[in-house]
Symmetry: C2
């Protein structure tokens, strides 16, 4: 059977290693790159080659950043009394979009025995040092993902941090806004019932 | 609001220009590239930078290829009496997968007044020269896409080629294999009825 020219096959092979990109998507992307002039191939290639070169890890929050400390940690206008614990840098962006303006700490993943990731590979030790050094942090919001591994990671961290003089909270799990009770899964509904709040309290 | 470091933002911007890639997909791809070692960034970048360098257009069939003439046109074992007319190089691969083993001619698109593409931008003139020079080609199967522009392109080509001593055929349009009559759209069903074949004929 006829196959594509070698340079096309090679790029298709590399693209299919990306998440969510199958052989058909990869072929379409490559032929798009071949045809379209909006993406300049040399500039695109340069961005990929230099992707890691200009990046550092912020030593305070472990987020990926241009500089150390990162712009969030260096921003004195932000609330220094609350710290949100997340799994990945992308979670920081999601919370920023939601309007949160406190501190962050990026774990660098979740505890996942299946993937061979234990607590030692996460930035938990640094978090403890940070909480001890910064007594102004009064609350840690654990915002790991609401799935099996994220919940297990949250439980583990609660056990580790519970003796520190800091309030531990968990981001709420419940019905997503715009969602429909009828289509919600049982676990979400169960959590939403468990996490119900008094209306007078919410109004306060 | 906090944004990503510059090198990340730049690559996200370039990725979102690709078809089917939105800002969320682009972010996920970039962080995957940052984290995963299976795709070596320098090699990936090199593939993109060199994508066009090693490619030529086959002067016979206008497919994208490693060499001119391409492997298909150079293959003497293939049927030289039938030529399949397609819009894009990706269509060649799809037909190769289906088991077709004749010649091809790649139009390089479809007639699309909306996109400012007229017959002059397609390889129709070269096709006429090719048919005149190669009298062994007895049949041209027009396999442009079964949509408005593909059908219009097919009609145009029939008008242009009808005086040449070559049989013109159109790839069949009907129910897709594994499809369901109940869910087929009206136009497909209409075409499927129009294109019905006698069972004795099909068995022959």
């Amino acid at each position: 059977m006829h196959t594509f020219p070698k340079s096309i096959e090679r790029l298709i092979g590399q693209l299919t290693q990306l998440p969510g990109v199958g052989p058909k998507t990869a072929s379409r992307l490559v032929f798009y790159l071949l045809r379209d002039d909006r993406v300049v191939l040399s500039e695109f290639a340069e961005s990929i080659a230099n992707l890691k070169a200009d990046l550092v890890t912020c030593e305070t929050c472990h987020n990926i950043a241009d500089e150390n400390p990162c712009r969030i940690c260096a921003d004195v206008a932000r609330d220094a009394t609350i710290l949100c614990l997340v799994e990945e840098p992308l979670d920081v962006l999601a919370l920023e979009r939601s309007g949160y303006r406190g501190q962050y700490h990026v774990l660098g993943g979740r505890i996942s025995p299946m993937d061979g990731i234990g607590p030692g590979q996460l930035t938990i030790d640094d978090l403890i040092l940070r909480l001890k050094a910064h007594s102004e942090i009064g609350e840690v919001v654990i915002a790991t993902n609401p799935n099996v591994e994220g919940e297990a990671t949250a439980s583990y961290i609660v056990r580790i941090l519970r003796d520190l003089p800091v309030k531990l909270t968990r981001i709420a799990r419940g019905l997503p806004m715009g969602g429909d009770l009828e289509y919600a899964d049982e676990l979400t509904l169960h959590r939403a019932m468990e996490g119900r709040s008094a209306l007078s309290q919410e109004a306060a």
